[in-house]
Symmetry: C2
Subunit: 321 residues, 2 copies
């Protein structure tokens, strides 16, 4: 049997990322053999990106390589886990080595940043689709679950919210362009997984989630799992100038329902806040208080412009497009 | 946000398979949290099945559910690992609950047989494609690698070989049908992962692989990794009556290159053979000696009909279609 193009691709993967001591056997056998640390729980998450659904045909492959790993690392961050290993199932229309080289550059650069080794996967021919599974470690008692929030806990967001959603609106021609386009597009195409912040939150925050579906939708997931409602002060949302301008125009959709920002949304008991704020300040991690969890179900939005506050009933998001 | 069809699908997955004590947190959070046993290595393998490439459009979904898990469990078997957890990335053209119900019946029935719990994954919309990752445990010193074979080790095969390949030829109209069609088709659509045999081989066999690409191609993988050649007595191959008839007609392709049988091919040092044979007899595991590893590279086939033996140079398989 001659070595196929896809065999060559597999060889390409073998050296793409760093070597870890806890990888006993990497790419090239029937299984990878991995050595999890004693006492830690293994955290795993799997996400698929499908062409035409999660990214446009013709998207930059290097950004795709970054994003396919980033959205998974973001799930580890939301559990407070340390990233370790990744597997990659790549379905490609053909053996396009230029595309693959660029894809793996994006993937490997982010993997190197977090010490992640690619240990296995599968390469098949078919419509373009990328499935990544990440594996990390976390003390099971410190892991950040969605359901640990309590009424009275304060709500925080990392970074800023709405940039990716606004980038998408602009790409679709549904919002006017300006000098901020490049920054917003970078936020959509190359999200930064908040792994460092997640590690700091482990054992401190009461609940956490990464904002992939949109702030309200993901806050709902936390409220449902925690059996609480929430109150959000919209004047406190961390916004880039472009998104702030959009909100001032009355368009809250990117900030509240845009999704794809991969910021961390978390709750924390009030007596732990001061200590967390100083830890985050020291570590250069930007977080902002945006509201609190409440006993009554539903999400109450308090507008900054004096408009009466609005209650979003459970399971309904009228900002969603 | 109304509950989407795909949210319902996720809920469906949550109870599909058995509950394991080592699953600290299953489907429904940012990650699953798993507790690997102390001292064991974690064995992981990931395989994708794409419609039109690995199965025909309109294939029976229950068989697909079985096969998607089976081909992955087969990789664990080939390492000698105990199956534990699975993740599933399912890309579907639409939310067809009848299709999904049947798919999960096939998946869950096989999962139950081996005590496997589905712990996470992703459901997306797009061209039909199924990626499964399995996770198992194995003593790292007993794991069956491809590269452990030595010249002089005997070669064995489990079950019988060529059935799936012949089923495919018949489905394509390239071989005549007969009363064996149903049996052969079952072998193609519902392969049995040789997990029980793999466990028995761990610490005993010197090298192992599951036959997915075809006997010669997979034997080549073992020879390459073990830096040996091999000699195969074709009169010793374990064949069903239908495949034996095909070979007697001179068509060795299904037996030698058919693939998709998911039998185990393994090597073992001669002094360990007697003990293994009695263990397998007691456990009801059928294995058959088919040849041996040799020092010279290349694979030598010894024909049963008095034809001169044939040497297949490294990297070449003229039976492959």
């Amino acid at each position: 049997m001659p070595i196929s193009e896809f065999d060559l691709i597999r060889q390409y993967f073998a050296d793409a990322t760093a070597s870890r001591h806890d990888v006993l056997l990497g790419i090239g056998d029937d299984c990878a053999l991995l050595q999890p640390p004693a006492g830690a729980a293994l955290a795993v998450s799997m996400d698929t990106l499908v062409e035409g659904r999660h990214f446009l045909p013709g998207s930059d492959p290097e950004s795709l390589g970054h994003k396919a790993l980033a959205v998974n690392l973001s799930d580890l961050a939301a559990m407070g886990a340390d990233p370790a290993w990744a597997t990659l199932a790549l379905t490609l229309p053909g053996a396009d080595t230029a595309w693959l080289g660029a894809f793996m550059r994006g993937f490997a650069a982010l993997a190197a940043e977090y010490g992640v080794q690619l240990v296995g996967g599968d390469t098949t021919r078919g419509p373009l689709s990328i499935t990544v599974q990440v594996h990390g470690f976390v003390d099971p008692d410190s892991a950040l679950k969605r359901g640990g929030g309590k009424a009275g806990d304060l709500l925080f967001l990392s970074g800023s919210i709405g940039d990716a959603g606004l980038a998408l609106l602009r790409a679709q021609g549904a919002a006017p362009s300006d000098a901020e386009d490049g920054h917003l597009r970078e936020r959509l195409d190359r999200p930064i997984p908040r792994v460092t912040l997640g590690r700091l939150l482990a054992g401190r925050a009461s609940a956490a989630i990464d904002v992939s579906d949109g702030l309200i939708a993901d806050l709902e997931h936390v409220c449902t799992a925690s059996v609480t409602g929430a109150r959000v002060n919209l004047s406190s949302l961390p916004l880039s100038p472009a998104v702030a301008t959009e909100c001032a125009r009355g368009n809250w959709q990117p900030a509240l329902s845009g999704g794809d920002d991969y910021e961390l949304l978390f709750s924390i008991s009030p007596e732990r806040v001061e200590s967390l704020l100083s830890i985050c300040l020291e570590a250069g991690q930007q977080i902002k208080e945006i509201g609190c969890l409440v006993a009554d179900s539903g999400i109450v939005l308090v507008y900054p412009d004096g408009r009466p506050s609005e209650e979003i009933p459970h399971g309904f998001d009228h900002f969603r497009t």
